[in-house]
Structures are given as structure tokens and as C-alpha cells.
């Protein structure tokens, strides 16, 4: 006779990486880190409005961290990879859970953002790759390597403004940030639910908080390309 519930229980690592709820917790935790990073990144970027000195100081500070910067980078990278990997894995499993689709599909209350997480996620992933190549590795724009400020430091301020002077790049950037934030509208509220901090009274509030944060982050990020496009942010001395 078959018996159920008497099998050997899963180990802790197996619970986290294979159990449906475990995977979700991983998504929530890695998502939280990614969210914190996005928030920090935005606050860092906004220093551009305080002028060239301030931003370049900040960049220099980050670089001066040396090995610590690399630790942070590896840490962030690992979390990001887990988030992407688990996200894709969850989606593939979810698709497999309903091999035969409905002829007539309908949705009652699932938000569009919740239903498009995989697509906004993958779009964000490709943007991040491009973004790193653009500003961090500087492969897409090799001329950035030569940009230095008066103190001989990499002139991040000018790089950003040069970058966004290209309207195409600016628009791509705005769309991408929009997707990130749309992803966050579901992600932020979802994190709370996944770690069990939710109830019917809290839920509508949570949804509002998620949307507010997402919109604020969106505005924060796009203020820079918009600033460049509308000439609020300008290159030092009016050009190179």
C-alpha cells in the first residue's frame, strides 16, 4: 500500500531551492535586495542635480571602496542571478502546470503587472545588461574611457549627459525604468505576502504603498534624461 506523508522530509537547502514556497521566499528576499539597490541607485544618481563635482565625488567614493566594491558587486550579482533564475524556473513550472489552456480566458482581479512579471522581468534583464555595458564597462560608448574631470577622475557627470543627449538612448532608458517600476508595483506588495506579512486590511494599503514607491522611483530616474532633454542638465562649459 502506498503511504503519504511518511517520506523523509526535505533538507533545509532543498526546501529553499525546490519547495514552491521556498522558491518564492528566495524571490522575495532577492527581490527585496534588488529593490533596495534600485532605490539606492536612484538616490545616488539624483546627486547629478547637485552638480558635476558632487556626482563625480560620489563615483570616486564608490570606486575608492576597492575590494569592498567588488564584494558588493558579487553579492548583488549573485542575488540578481538567483532572482532571474528562480523567476524563470517558476514561470516554466507554472506553464507546465496547465498543459491544456482554456478556450475562453478570463481574469477577475489579477493585475496586469502581476500577469506580466516574466516579460517585464526579462525586458529589465536585457536593459540591465545594456546599462552595465553602457555605463559600467563602457563598451557601447568607448569614448567614455577618455572622459575625465578637472581632477583627473572619470567624469561620470559628462558621461551621463552625453549619453542622454542621444534621444534614442534617453527614450530607451525611460521605457526601461518604466518597466522596472511596473515590475515593482507587483513585486513590492508581493514580497510582503510571500513572507507572510499581509491581511485583508493591510493589502489595499500595501498596494498603494507599492504603487507610490514605484511611481516615485520612476520619477526620480526619469528626471535625469528629461533634465538633459530639456536642457536643465548641461555639460560643463556648454559642451566638450
Amino acid at each position: 500500500m502506498s503511504t503519504i506523508g511518511l517520506e523523509k522530509p526535505r533538507s533545509l537547502p532543498a526546501e529553499i531551492s525546490y519547495a514552491s514556497v521556498g522558491k518564492k521566499v528566495l524571490m522575495a528576499v532577492t527581490g527585496l535586495v534588488a529593490f533596495a539597490y534600485v532605490l539606492g541607485h536612484m538616490l545616488g544618481n539624483l546627486q547629478i542635480f547637485a552638480g558635476r563635482e558632487r556626482l563625480n565625488d560620489y563615483a570616486e567614493f564608490l570606486h575608492s571602496l576597492g575590494w569592498l566594491l567588488w564584494v558588493i558587486r558579487v553579492f548583488l550579482f549573485a542575488f540578481f542571478v538567483i532572482h532571474v533564475w528562480k523567476g524563470i524556473q517558476l514561470k516554466l513550472e507554472n506553464w507546465a502546470s496547465r498543459p491544456q489552456r482554456y478556450v475562453k480566458n478570463n481574469t477577475v482581479q489579477a493585475s496586469l503587472s502581476s500577469r506580466t512579471m516574466i516579460w517585464t522581468g526579462l525586458a529589465v534583464l536585457s536593459f540591465v545588461v545594456y546599462h552595465i555595458l553602457h555605463f559600467t564597462v563602457r563598451i557601447t560608448n568607448p569614448q567614455y574611457q577618455k572622459m575625465v574631470d578637472d581632477l583627473g577622475r572619470p567624469d561620470v557627470y559628462s558621461m551621463v549627459i552625453t549619453g542622454y543627449q542621444n534621444n534614442l538612448i534617453a527614450v530607451v532608458y525611460i521605457i526601461a525604468v518604466g518597466l522596472v517600476c511596473y515590475h515593482l508595483t507587483h513585486g513590492i506588495a508581493s514580497m510582503f505576502q510571500t513572507v507572510g506579512l499581509n491581511n485583508p486590511r493591510f493589502q489595499p494599503v500595501l498596494d498603494k504603498i507599492a504603487w507610490t514607491l514605484a511611481v516615485l522611483i520612476f520619477l526620480g530616474f526619469i528626471s535625469i534624461p528629461l533634465g538633459v532633454m530639456f536642457g536643465i542638465l548641461q555639460l560643463p562649459g556648454g559642451g566638450l
Partner: protein, 615 residues
Amino acid sequence: MKLVNPANKRKYHVIVVGTGLAGASAAASLAELGYNVKAFCFQDSARRAHSIGAQGGINAAKNYQNDGDSIWRLFYDTIKGGDFRSREGNVYRLAQVANNIIDQCVAQGVPFAREYGGMLDNRSFGGAQVSRTFYARGQTGQQLLLGAYSALIRQIGRGQVKMFPRTEMQDLVLINGHAKGIVVRDLVTGKIESHAADAVVLATGGYGRVFNLSTMGLGCNVTAVYRAYKRGALFANPCFTQIHPTCIPYSGEFQSKLTLMSESLRNDGRIWVPKKKGDQRPPNRIPEDERDYYLERKYPSFGNLAPRDISSRSAKEVCDEGRGVGPTGYGVYLDFADAIKRLGKHIIEQRYGNLFEMYHLITDEDPYEVPMRIYPASHYTMGGLWVDYNLMSNIPGLHVIGEANFSDHGANRLGASALMQGLADGYFILPYTISDYFARAGAQNISTDRAEFRAAENEVEDRIKKIMAVNGRQTAESFHKRLGTIMWEYSGMARNETGLKKALELIPALREEFWKDVKVLGEAEDMNQTLERAGRVADFLEFAEIFAYDALNREESCGAHFREEYQTEDGEARRDDKRFAYVAAWEYKGVGIKPELHKEPLDFENVELATRSYK
């Protein structure tokens, strides 16, 4: 009573048919003791047995309310409620174990209603003057069944119970006169299979669907017990069927079932009809002095909480007088306006919220605004296979528990006592009494290869072939409807000799027509709901006859059995203890042949036979 040594229990195999309150609790408890259990149900999961439909509650004599309740009082109320047509011993035992059931269910995690102090809450129910009913909102049956089911699945998980869902019992197999197995049909594949065991337990519920329209699940049927009856088990008191007073009235030909509104509603609702015949005014326009609160008028001490049979019959009376309400004229008002005024909508919502919602969904009327309309409907069957004190039928090894047996409710069941009986039988009675049979009969390790199983399988297959071969024009469902109409008309809430004799002419004729003109499509070797239905209807068409014979035989009015010839001047039931203080147990003599009556006299040593009065 003999016992089986714990180490020897694993040598015994038990078959339990049905997984409602009685079946699930019995299967789980037997498995816990170490017996090997096979459990069967026709539903897709054991959790869906129709005990789940019970709403109101479960009785126990805990006396938590300090209102003078006791085991004796519960016993007496049950005997009296049953109009002195049940066995004293069985009922007393039932009252004794009732308290254990509550404890057991609480330990399983049944979320009974609680008071703010954390103690169990009680409500009052029809036919009792103490508050002894435990409840879980309006879903007590569901919660108790899920409790029993949780005990059952725990044993399934452990491998101690093997569960066969979507499997319907087709026949009982006797070996040397002992019940040693069953033949079943796998409803998914249509395969006919045999299962052998040392004893068979039937927990297959009641036969209320003989009326077609009832509050029972559409799958509920008489087949398992009827097959056992055909194999020699006695059928006791088939005419004792309860008509529940508070159901949503019938609304059209298409209707497949009647929905029960828990009796607990009568705690706060007031039942009335207009004083004037054919008064078509909307209820809110009928002034207070033109309303007839007939239960309060006729039974001042019990009022709206009069027992079910009395409430039902009173509703029928006022409707027959032409004072019924609603489009069909078969309905009475159950009005909450006073209770809402007294307690506030909030309290009423807390007590009956889900019932009000259900009513609203079905009728599109808001019971907070307009009174509910209710009418009686077939609900529970007190009759069933005859069993002895050990719950064993006259066939050794065949045990019958829950609604399927006849034992505890006499001629009428009190509210909240069905759940009590089902669980008492399953948790606390059968597990002890079955060991007596085992110890006497011994473990026999019977194989299904024996000729008796082959023969039974062949009979089952032949019968299915016969049904499939008729290839007529009418569906089994239409026959069921017609049978229901006959039964309701001539054998329903009020019966008389002429009507019953008429029924005994109509039923065989309908049965003959069925076997000439029923239409079953599809294949026998496949999932086939029309074939399932046809098989069940075929059994109802035979069973209906013993029902009518019993009603005809019982020339008295008692409990739910009301013979128009036997009533007092003011229309109350007139019991005849001299001639009818017995259990009528019928023995099968062949289809269409009058069954043989056996009488088990009822001796009352502890209670005095009194006229049941609720005035």
C-alpha cells in the same frame, strides 16, 4: 461482549461502504485499532458524502448552559421526539456517548462556535427545552465530516485504510450465510470487481430520494441497503421518513432538489401565513392582526420550535386551506423582522449570515428585507436496515450504521441528532461491537475467487446489460420524477389507506414501464452517469413498494408517519401503542411480492409511554 486481542486485529479485514459521518468515523476508528479497512464511496472524494449538507448542529448533554440537561434528559427527549418507536437501550447508549463526540471533534480541530470566554457555545433546537446544540456556523455537518475525514485520510496516508472513491456498491456477497464481501462498479472504468473481508459495514445513508425532490444530494440512493435487503437483511420501518419544515419552496418542473434552510432559523424567525385565504398582498403590507402565527397559536410552549413533523404538517395544513404564500401557494413565511428589531441586523447576520446569503442567491429575495418563504421537504429517513444492539443486521457480519440503519430515532428525529447518531455509531459503538462478531467468527482470509463472488458479479453484469438493452425512449430521470410524485402524493406528509393502495398499484406499473422504456446511452464499460442513475432509480422503483406496504400496515399516526384516519379531533396524531409498539421489519420475498412482516416488540422499562404533546 467478546474482544479481539490487539495483536490479532491486523488479521481482520473490514469493508466500509460510505464515507459520511458514520462511515468515515468508523473506518478511521477501526483502522486506528489495527483492523485492515477498505472504504468505498461513489463520490470523487470521501469528503463529499452528504453528511456535509447538515447545517444546524449536533446535540450532546454537556449541560454547559447549566439549564438542567443530563444524559437522561437527552435520552428522554430523543425517545419522546421519536414518538416512542425506538429501542430504549440503543437510545440511552447514544445519549451516553454524545458527550464524547464533542470532545473528540474538538480534539480533531473542529472549529465549533465559542463564547468570548473561550468556552463552547450552544444554541437551542426543535423538540428540546434545553440549549444543547453545538454548532459551527451554519456548516456543522461540513465541519464534523471534515473532522472525520481528516481522521480517515490520516489512516489512508498510513496505509491502514485503502480508499476507493468513485466506486459504487452493487451487491452484497454472502458466504455460508455471513456477509463476507461486496461487488462494486468502478464508476470511471465501468469495471465490476469483488472485494472480500471478514465483515461488511454499510454506512450508505438514507433513502429520502425516493421522493425524488428532497434536500439530499443527487447521488444519494437506496441501492446498497436495498441490495443487502434482497440478500436477506430485514428492512425496518421504511415509512418513517422525515419531512423537514424549513426548505426553500418548489419553484418549477426543472427543479432538481430542494434546499434546506437550517432549523436553527426557527430560533429567531417567526412562522406565519395570512389569516385570509388567497391574500396576495406582499408580506410587509399585511398588518399584524391579519397574520396567523399558527405555531405560536397552536403550541404556545414550544411555538416556532415545535418538532419537525408537527411544524411540517402544520405548514401543509395551512397551505391546503388555501392560505399558503408565494407563486405556487405552497409556502409559509419565516419572518425575521421582530428579531432584527430586537437584536439588530448585526447579530442576526452573525448567527445566520451564510444561510441568508444562500437564500438570497437562490430566490433573489433579501431575507433581511422580506420574510423568507419556506415549505417542508423530504430530508431524513428514520427507517433503515434492521440492526441489533450491536448494530449488526440479521445477516451475521453485516453491520449497518448511521442513517442507513433504523435504530435510534423511532418515528421522528429531533434536530441536531443525526450528526450525533452518525458519529456515535462510527466512533464509539461499532468499533467495540464489531469485535464481538470477529471474536466469534474468526479471521477467515476469504478469497474473491470463490464461486459466491463469481455468481454475484455475473448477476450484477447481467442486470447492467439488461438496463442497457432496453433502449426505450424515456430517461431514468423522468421515471424518478414520476416515482417522486407518486410517493409525495400518496405517501408523503399525510397518508391514508386509499392513497397507499393506489400507490401500490401505480408503483409496479411504473416499474414495468421503466423496464420497457428506459433509455440509457453510452457504454457500460465507461464513466456513464445515465447508467448510474438508471440503476439507482430501478432500485427505488422496487423499494418504494415496501415503503408503501409499511405505511399501509401501520394503522396509527406516530411521529412523522401521519395516517389521516388516525387523528384526534383537533388534528393531532393518534398513536396506537397496543397494536403498534413494535418495529416493523420486512423480509424480501421477491420483486412485486408483498414482503413478510417481522415484528420486534418495543418494551419500555424506563420511560412511560405518554402522548407526545408540545402544547
